[in-house]
């Protein structure tokens, strides 16, 4: 077991961010580059170029080693460099400095359904997708029956996948990928697809892959419960650097404690969204008390408000925006969306908006919480996901029956209506 599978040394990756474009991605045209040429030449000669662009380090001097058969989890906030790291290890993109030595065949599962062609049938797509992921025809043929049995799509094998339901599509895609047999497997968040039952099945499959075949697995996820279940060792990336590397329970504990300072408000002057999303950006999220004051400390009897301001750049036919609340130990408390009661409100027109939601008092148990923001088009794509964007505390309201204020079990502590009568 002491044999090396992967050794990463001083790995860094930088991107240029051009401020002239206001932070919004744009396609380059030949025209733009030709117009910029004289200026580029001038700045090169006068040596004060780069005035409008900034170098952003997605990964900074990352080093670690992975042994054969090890299952390594990688965690970190959005933009911490997790996906960039996997992309470099999978040779999709090149590092800027440093490097990695890989001992064995690498297979990656960065997104389910990559390379599926909507016009082709399920059968044809199995071969296409398998080949793209690095399987030979013979290998795919050998596993064909296993794949369709796993995906449960026997009846639709000769139907073009564009007629598949999204569930079938995802099942087929995962089934192909799960039957890959590389020595080193890179997985990015793919377990969070499909319905609950299929998730359970795919998680079990991943465990089987990791346990039986002695394969090396590197697994990126936002779900702490999945990571702690699958991976004995975890690396935590923060701002492109390795913040911690060790036993999963320790690292996850440290990761959950980063918000040791309560944070009532975070803002992004240029907006933030998932990679590649241009239609919507979140500008800020914040917490307000009943007097609309910013705070991160609430009395358990008083309502608290969650606020998000966002800008829509292109019309979106349907989008929900909402919050997920977690207790600090990772227990989910609730998930709510602005369209929960107003489905017609899902259409977003270009403009800047502020959205506020009030959580009633006498609901949350005293303790510390973390808020995640989620904006997305359900079943289509996620637009913005900010995990652990805010942290706050709820302190005990001095109950009249304070004498009985011992710690209580449960996730919430609502104020219930009690009635008592003498019989």
């Amino acid at each position: 077991m002491s044999e090396l599978a992967l050794s990463v040394t001083g790995l860094s990756k930088s991107f240029n961010i051009d401020h002239r474009r206001n932070g919004l991605p744009r396609y380059r045209t030949l025209h733009d580059d030709l117009l910029a040429l004289p200026r580029r030449l001038l700045t090169t000669f006068s040596r004060n170029g780069r005035s409008t662009s900034e170098i952003f380090w997605a990964l900074k001097d990352v080093s670690f080693e992975v042994k054969k058969g090890e299952v390594l989890g990688i965690i970190g906030a959005n933009g911490a460099g997790k996906s960039t790291l996997l992309k470099i290890l999978n040779r999709i993109t090149e590092p800027t400095t440093g490097g990695a030595d890989v001992y064995g065949r690498v297979g990656a599962l960065l997104e389910v359904g990559t390379g599926f062609h909507p016009e082709l049938t399920g059968r044809e797509n199995i071969f296409l997708n398998g080949a793209i992921l690095g399987m030979s025809r013979a290998e795919i043929r050998q596993k064909f029956d296993e794949i369709i049995a796993f995906a449960e799509i026997e009846k639709f094998l000769d139907t073009p996948v564009k007629r598949y339901s999204s569930g079938m599509y995802v099942r087929l895609a995962f089934a192909v990928a799960a039957h890959l047999e590389p020595e080193i497997l890179l997985i990015d968040e793919v377990l969070s697809v499909g319905d609950a039952q299929f998730q359970k099945k795919s998680l079990a499959k991943m465990e089987e892959v990791a346990a039986n075949d002695g394969r090396t697995v590197i697994f990126v996820s936002h779900s702490m419960s999945t990571v702690s279940r699958l991976c004995p060792r975890v690396i935590w990336l923060r701002g492109g650097e390795v913040a911690a590397d060790g036993a999963s329970s320790d690292v996850i504990q440290q990761y959950s404690n980063i918000g040791s300072v309560d944070q009532p408000r975070v803002s992004w002057p240029e907006g933030i969204s998932n990679a590649g999303i241009t239609e919507l950006k979140v500008m800020s999220v914040g917490l307000l008390d009943k007097n609309r004051r910013q705070t991160a400390d609430f009395d358990s009897s008083e309502p608290l408000s969650l606020e998000v301001s966002y800008t829509v750049f292109d019309p979106i036919p349907f989008c929900r925006i909402g919050f997920l609340l977690y207790a600090l130990d990772g227990t989910p408390v609730f998930e709510i969306y602005d369209v929960d009661e107003d489905v017609d409100g899902g259409r977003r027109e270009p403009g800047s908006y502020s959205l506020r939601c009030e959580v009633p008092g006498d609901l949350l148990k005293p303790g510390r919480y973390s808020v995640s923001l989620n904006a997305g088009m359900p079943g289509i794509k996620n637009l913005v996901r900010l995990d652990g964007a805010l942290q706050f505390s709820v302190h005990d309201h001095a109950l009249p029956g304070a004498a009985m204020n011992l710690p209580r079990v449960g996730v919430v502590q609502p104020k219930a209506k009690w009635a008592s009568k003498t019989l």
Binding site: M1, L4, S7, T29, K87, T114, A196, K200, R233
Partner: protein
Amino acid sequence: MTTFSTLALVSPESSSAIAYAEPTPVVAARRTLTPTLRIRPTKGWAALNLRELWSYRDLLWILVERNIKVIYKQTALGMTWVALQPLIAAVILAVIFGRVAKLPSDGVPYLLFVFCGLTAWRYFSETAQRSNNSLVNNAQLVSKVYFPRMLIPLSHTFSALVDFGVMLIMLFVIMAIYRVPPTLRLAAIPGFLFLTAMTATGVALWFSALSVKYRDCNYALPFFLQIWMYASAVVYPTSMIVSARWQTLFALNPVVGLVEGFRWSVLGRSALNPAMFWITVAMSVFALLSGAFFFRRVERTFADII
């Protein structure tokens, strides 16, 4: 969104099956093996790495298969379009240039003359046109999986062969109609086809790589190809250029030699001469190699800018 809660519900018993590995970073692990893969930043020109390309041949064939299956899906006429397109093009050219403008055609019926040129030309232009946007259309693949990116444009070189085959059969039919007897020279067609494929692949590699960065290529290429066609002796014979010196210079455009090569094989009449032939060979090789090296040089940034 329900991920968290549902995953948390899964019972933890089965996780005990995972072998517990040493959690601390390993420094002293044995390094007896040589790595199968070294990932390092690269600069400048890169080797073509033909061996890797060869090891991915299965994927190439599957991509070729996909191109062929998909191209005329959900059209009423389906594969009939493969035959219809060049036929309509040839008839239009024959009417305009043969009848109205009365361009010379080396003494061959104009329709046969122009169809012969079109067979070579259309294979060239279809390959270039289809691969031009191919990387951008496959952005999902390029940014999510690793494989030699060259396979994507290359797959069109092969899938366009289907169209070429259909045109070749039609060409033989037209030959029969005009009672042009086949000769042994027809055996040279695969050779000229190979040269055409090389040139077309070279151009396709240039354009597909450029269009990742500059989407202008989508708009520029159709015009560029149209101009190129009229500059390539498709609708008129090279013999229209009287001076032999100018003819040789004209051959620097490799498509001229290829079109004339096809005419030489089919009609037996052509301005093709040895000097022109060797220039064409040299230019085809140059097109392919320059395209391939340029592609390799810029492909490392594809995933970042696509």
